[in-house]
């Protein structure tokens, strides 16, 4: 496979993630779509790393996966706290930050 096909798959995954974020209203689905965005960026990093013969991109992909795990943990904790407060995680009903 050439670099072009890796980049094509990456932008397909990125577009699916953006479409999911702007259409879905459930908190867990939005967190899953954020993971899709991060994984498309990781795919770009690994593809360019193999293209250049340099392992730095793979190392940064590992760091990025760990940061994504931390972000998912914080996101689910926020959803649990919101569910205790409002009895729903439908984000249309949660507008407590609205001015």
């Amino acid at each position: 496979m050439s670099l072009y096909s890796y980049l094509l798959i990456s932008i397909i995954i990125f577009t699916i993630g953006v479409y999911g974020i702007i259409t879905q209203r459930s908190g867990i689905k939005i967190l899953m779509c954020i993971e899709l965005l991060l994984n498309s960026a990781n795919l770009n990093l690994v593809a360019f790393s193999s293209y250049n013969g340099n392992a730095t991109g793979q190392v940064f992909a590992i760091f990025s996966i760990a940061i994504a795990a931390a972000e998912a943990a914080i996101g689910f904790a926020i959803l649990v706290a919101l569910f205790r407060l409002k009895d729903t995680i439908n984000l249309d009903n949660i507008n407590i930050l609205r001015w």
Partner: protein
Amino acid sequence: MINKTFNLLIAILLFAALFLAIDNSFTDLAKKEEITPISIGEIAGGMNNQGETIRHGIFSDFIFPFELLSLLLLASLMGALYIAKKEA
């Protein structure tokens, strides 16, 4: 259902913009077409002792970000437990 078609239009426009950017830069800048396939043992640094492996990347070049990442994971663990704990 004007809203749903509007969302789909945004997604298609984003895909078109990204695709055109990649297509332009690829035809301009590509020198070699194929990615050289590297085995997982080679990229993990099995037996060779020169650089450019994940082992040298994590444990010598990027050792400070690696240690910083452990602090980040610990902080996010404690923060997630504090946010999600049952209010006493």
